[in-house]
C-alpha cells in the first residue's frame, strides 16, 4: 500500500491557503491599505485590526494582503519571463547544439557566476527602482537556470528514435521541439518552476528589503519588512505577519514541489 504523501498534502494545503489569502487581497481588504489613522498608531492586534497597525496607523492585515499580492504578481511575472526565455534558449541550444550552443551556455555561466541579487542591484541602480524594473532585472537573471535545465533535457531527447523518425518524415524543427519533445520534459520543468518561484519570491523580498525593489506607494512583503524593522520592539507584530506570509508562501510551494517529486519517484 502506498504511504501517504505528507509533503504533497501539507504543501498543497499551505499553497492553496496562501493563494486564497492573496486572492482575497486582490478584491477586498478590511481597510484601504494606505489609509492612515492617528488613533491607531502602533495598535496591537485586536478585533478591529487582526494584524495590528504600523507607525502611521495603517492596518497591517490590509497591507499584508496587498503586499502578498504584489510579491506574488512580481514572482509570477519573473518566473514567466525567466521560464519562457529560458525555455526558448534552452530548447534551441539543446536541440541544435554546435558552436552557438556552446557560446550561449558559456554566456549563461557568466551570468550565473554573479550572485543574482548583486547583479539585480547593479541593474536597478542604473534603471531605478519600480515594479517593472524589478521584474525585468530578476527575469533576465532567472533565464540561465531554466535554459540549462531545458537544454539538458533536450540533449537527452534529440537523438531518440521518435525524434529521428519525426525528422525523417519531414516534421519541422519547431514542431519537433514543441510538440514531440516538450511534453516529455514537463515533469522536470514543473519542479524547476516550483523552485524558481520560491527563488523569485525571496529575491523580490530581499531586493525590496534592501530598498531597491518596489516603490513605497505599492508595498510588497519585502518592503513591509524593511519598513517594520525600525519598530521591532515597539510593534513586533508589524514584522511578524509579513514575515510569516513570506515563510508560509515559500514553505508551501517547496513542500508541494517535494511532494510532486516524491510522487514521481514512488510511481516508477
Amino acid at each position: 500500500m502506498r504511504r501517504k504523501n505528507w509533503y504533497l498534502i501539507v504543501g498543497a494545503v499551505l499553497t492553496a491557503s496562501m493563494l486564497a489569502f492573496t486572492a482575497v487581497g486582490f478584491f477586498w481588504t478590511p481597510y484601504e491599505p494606505s489609509a492612515m489613522s492617528a488613533a491607531d498608531k502602533y495598535a496591537k492586534p485586536c478585533a478591529a485590526h487582526l494584524f495590528g497597525c504600523d507607525q502611521l496607523g495603517r492596518d497591517i492585515l490590509s497591507r499584508t494582503l496587498e503586499g502578498a499580492g504584489a510579491t506574488l504578481a512580481i514572482a509570477l511575472a519573473v518566473l514567466a519571463v525567466g521560464a519562457l526565455a529560458g525555455l526558448a534558449v534552452g530548447a534551441l541550444c539543446g536541440y541544435h547544439g554546435g558552436a552557438a550552443d556552446a557560446l550561449v551556455m558559456r554566456l549563461c555561466d557568466a551570468v550565473a557566476a554573479f550572485p543574482s541579487v548583486l547583479l539585480a542591484l547593479v541593474v536597478l541602480a542604473v534603471t531605478g527602482p519600480g515594479k517593472y524594473n524589478v521584474i525585468a532585472a530578476l527575469g533576465v537573471l532567472f533565464v540561465p537556470s531554466f535554459a540549462r535545465l531545458v537544454r539538458g533535457e533536450f540533449l537527452k531527447y534529440r537523438d531518440r528514435d521518435f525524434v529521428r523518425s519525426a525528422k525523417l518524415i519531414g516534421v519541422s524543427d519547431l514542431r519537433i521541439i514543441f510538440v514531440h519533445i516538450l511534453p516529455n520534459i514537463w515533469p522536470v520543468l514543473l519542479s524547476g518552476l516550483t523552485i524558481g518561484f520560491n527563488n523569485a519570491v525571496l529575491a523580490e523580498a530581499s531586493m525590496s528589503y534592501l530598498g531597491i525593489g518596489v516603490s513605497a506607494t505599492e508595498p510588497s512583503l519585502g518592503y513591509l519588512l524593511k519598513d517594520a524593522q525600525g519598530y521591532l520592539f515597539t510593534a513586533p507584530w508589524y514584522t511578524a505577519f509579513p514575515a510569516a506570509a513570506i515563510v508560509l508562501l515559500i514553505l508551501g510551494v517547496s513542500l508541494l514541489g517535494e511532494g510532486v517529486r516524491e510522487r514521481m519517484g514512488v510511481g516508477t
Binding site: 494606505s34 489609509a35 492612515m36 492617528a38 498608531k41 502602533y42 507607525q55 502611521l56 496607523g57 550572485p115 543574482s116 541579487v117 548583486l118 531605478g128 527602482p129 537556470s145 540549462r148 535545465l149 539538458g152 533535457e153 537527452k156 515533469p187 522536470v188 519542479s191 524547476g192 523552485i195 524558481g196 520560491n198 527563488n199 525571496l202 529575491a203 523580498a205 530581499s206 528589503y209 534592501l210 530598498g211 516603490s215 513605497a216 506607494t217 524593511k226 524593522q229 525600525g230 519598530y231 521591532l232 520592539f233 515597539t234 517529486r261 514521481m264 519517484g265 516508477t268
Partner: protein, 530 residues
C-alpha cells in the same frame, strides 16, 4: 523509465542548489552581527569600536548622510557643516543660544555706519599643524570666501558685499563692506584656514577647532581626535574626548541596531517616532531640528509654476496631521521658511494660514485648469525616515483632491546632485537649515537669482523686499521687511511649508555634556564620559 528518473533527479538536485546560492547572498543582510549592518559598505567589520570604550575615551557617532565635499567654506549641506563645526572655526563661532562669540578673533568692533568691522586676532591660536594663525592666514581665508580662488563668485554668499579686506597690523584685520550690514558678523563664522591651503583644504582639513582631522573614508567614516593645542583648552573649552568617529549610516534602522549592538555610542537626528526603541537603555535628548521641513515644489515645472495649484495643494494637506504622524505631534508648524527658535522673525500666525479645506482646494484646482487633479512625483532621500513618512502622509492627503502622487526614494547623494543642485524634480520633502541666527540665511535663497534657490521661486515683490531688507541697517525696519518676505512665501505658497521637525539625540548613558544649539550644529567638544 529509470534513466529518465535518474536524470530528472540529478537535475532536480542541481536546481535545488539554486536556492542555496540565493540564500547565500540574501542571507548577508539578515543574520550577520549588527556591526556589518551599520557600516554602509558592509566591508569593514573591524570598524566596531565597542571594545575600545573604557580605555580609549572615544566615541562613535552615527550620522545619516555622507560628507561629499569637506571644503569648510563650500560645505553645501547642513550635515557636513555640523561635523566640520568641530574642526574649523571662524573669527567668531556660533554659541548655543544662536548668537556668535569670539573665536579666532578675541574681539571685534563695528563702526557707527555699519560698514567697517575691525577684528582683533586672539593670541596663541594655532592651526592643527602647530603653526600660529597670522593676519595673513585670516586675510587669505576671507578673500577665498569672497571668491579669490575661483571666478570671483563668493563661496559664502554674504561676502558679495565685501569691498576690502586688509590687515592694519599683525593682530588686526579690517573688513570693509560696500553696503552697511548688521548681519555680516554672522558670516564671519566662515572657517579660517592656513594661507595657501585652499586647493588641498577639502582633503587636508587643517583648522583651529577643538578637534583635529585624522581621516575620512567616503561612505564610511570621518575620524577626528582631540587637538591638544586648542586655544580654548586653557579656558576649559577643549575637547573632553580623545577621539570621535562619525560613522555614516544611511538607514535609521541600522542606526538603532548599531546603538543596541554597541557599534555606535551616539546617534544624531533620529526621528522621534523611534523613541520607543531606544528610551529604555539610552540617554535620549529631544528637540526640534532647527530646520524647515516642507514639501518643496519646483516652481519652474508645470503644474507647480501655477500659484493656484500650489495654494490648492496647501489647502489639501493637513499640517497638524502630518506633524502628528511623522513626529508624534512634537514638531512645530511653520507656514514659511522660518523656524520658531528664531523668535525675533518667526510669525506663528502663518503656520495655519492654509487650514485643510478640500472643497476650496478642488475649486482652486479647477480654476487652474486641473478639475480632476493630476499625477506627480515626490522625490525623497531614503536615509531620512521622517521625510519618507511625511511624504507618505502627504500622498494620502492629496488623494482627496484627485492628485495622484508617487513616492520616489533616492539615495542621499543622488538627491543632492539631481534634486538640490540639478533641480531636476517635481516635488521633494526635505529640511532646510541655516548656519546662523539671521533671517537672511533662511530667506535669501528664495531670491530668484540665488544659486541655492532650488525651488526656482521667482517673485518680483519678494526680490524687492529682500533687496531692501539686506541693505537695511535699521534693525527694526529690517525685521519688518524679513517678516514681509516670509509672508510673501506663504501667500504665494512657494512651497508647502510644514514644520520644524522633531528629532532625538541618543547617547550611551555613560556620556554627558550634550548641548542643543539653536542652529544646525553638533558640538562634540562638550561631550565626555561621566
Amino acid at each position: 523509465m529509470p534513466k529518465f528518473v535518474k536524470r530528472a533527479l540529478l537535475l532536480l538536485v542541481a536546481i535545488a542548489m539554486l536556492p542555496v546560492s540565493l540564500y547565500g547572498c540574501t542571507g548577508d543582510t539578515e543574520p550577520t552581527p549588527p556591526v556589518v549592518g551599520v557600516s554602509d559598505s558592509g566591508s569593514d567589520p573591524t570598524a566596531a569600536r565597542s571594545g575600545e570604550l573604557p580605555e580609549g575615551n572615544s566615541v562613535t557617532v552615527g550620522i545619516a548622510q555622507d560628507l561629499s565635499n569637506l571644503d569648510p567654506q563650500l560645505a553645501a549641506t547642513a550635515g557636513i557643516r555640523e561635523v566640520l563645526f568641530n574642526i574649523f572655526e571662524g573669527l567668531v563661532k556660533a554659541s548655543p543660544d544662536g548668537s556668535v562669540v569670539p573665536a579666532v578673533a578675541s574681539d571685534y568692533e563695528l563702526s557707527q555706519d555699519g560698514t567697517t568691522y575691525t577684528f582683533t586676532l586672539r593670541e596663541g591660536v594655532t592651526f592643527h599643524d602647530g603653526e600660529p594663525v597670522t593676519a595673513e592666514d585670516v586675510i587669505y581665508s576671507l578673500e577665498r570666501c569672497a571668491g579669490s580662488e575661483n571666478d570671483g563668485t563668493p563661496l559664502v554668499s554674504a561676502f558679495s558685499n565685501v569691498s576690502k579686506i586688509e590687515a592694519t597690523d599683525d593682530s588686526h584685520v579690517v573688513v570693509t563692506l560696500a553696503e552697511p550690514s548688521l548681519e555680516f558678523l554672522y558670516s564671519m563664522t566662515a572657517a579660517i584656514i592656513p594661507a595657501g591651503s585652499g586647493p588641498s583644504i577639502a582633503t587636508q582639513l587643517v583648522g583651529t577647532g577643538p578637534f583635529k582631522f585624522v581621516s575620512y573614508a567616503p561612505q564610511d567614516e570621518l575620524v577626528m581626535e582631540k587637538y591638544d593645542g586648542y586655544w580654548g583648552a586653557a579656558e576649559g573649552k577643549g575637547a573632553k574626548l580623545d577621539e570621535v568617529t562619525f560613522k555614516i549610516v544611511a538607514d535609521v534602522n541600522a542606526m538603532v541596531i548599531g546603538l543596541k549592538g554597541d557599534a555606535l555610542d551616539m546617534v544624531i537626528h533620529l526621528p522621534n517616532t523611534l523613541e520607543g526603541e531606544v528610551k529604555d537603555s539610552f540617554t535620549v535628548h529631544q528637540d526640534t531640528m532647527k530646520l524647515v521641513q516642507a514639501l518643496y515644489l519646483n516652481n519652474a515645472v508645470a503644474p507647480f509654476d501655477d500659484e493656484l495649484v500650489r495654494q490648492a495643494m496647501y489647502y489639501a494637506i493637513d499640517v497638524d496631521e502630518i506633524i502628528d504622524f511623522a513626529c508624534g505631534g512634537a514638531g512645530v508648524a511653520t507656514g514659511t521658511s522660518m523656524y520658531p527658535a528664531r523668535e525675533k522673525y518667526f510669525l506663528p500666525e502663518l503656520a495655519h494660514a492654509y487650514p485643510q479645506d478640500v472643497e476650496k482646494a478642488k475649486e482652486l484646482l479647477a480654476q487652474a485648469g486641473y478639475p480632476d487633479g493630476f499625477g506627480m512625483k515626490i522625490t525623497v532621500p531614503s536615509n531620512y525616515a521622517q521625510h519618507v513618512d511625511t511624504a507618505q502622509v502627504i500622498i494620502e492627503q492629496l488623494k482627496a483632491v484627485g492628485i495622484a502622487a508617487e513616492l520616489d526614494l533616492v539615495e542621499w547623494e543622488s538627491w543632492v546632485s539631481d534634486v538640490y543642485r540639478g533641480r531636476d524634480y517635481e516635488a521633494t520633502v526635505c529640511g532646510i537649515a541655516a548656519d546662523d541666527m539671521t533671517a537672511r540665511e533662511m530667506l535669501v535663497r528664495y531670491m530668484s537669482d540665488n544659486r541655492k534657490n532650488f525651488i526656482a521661486f521667482s517673485d518680483e515683490e519678494y526680490d524687492q523686499v529682500m533687496a531692501q531688507a539686506l541693505a537695511c541697517i535699521d534693525d527694526e525696519e529690517q525685521t519688518a521687511l524679513y517678516k514681509r518676505a516670509q509672508e510673501i512665501l506663504n501667500e504665494r505658497a512657494a512651497s508647502l511649508w510644514i514644520q520644524d521637525a522633531c528629532e532625538l539625540v541618543v547617547m550611551d548613558p555613560a556620556l554627558e555634556g550634550f548641548t542643543f544649539y539653536s542652529t544646525y550644529v553638533l558640538d562634540m567638544s562638550t561631550i565626555g564620559y561621566r
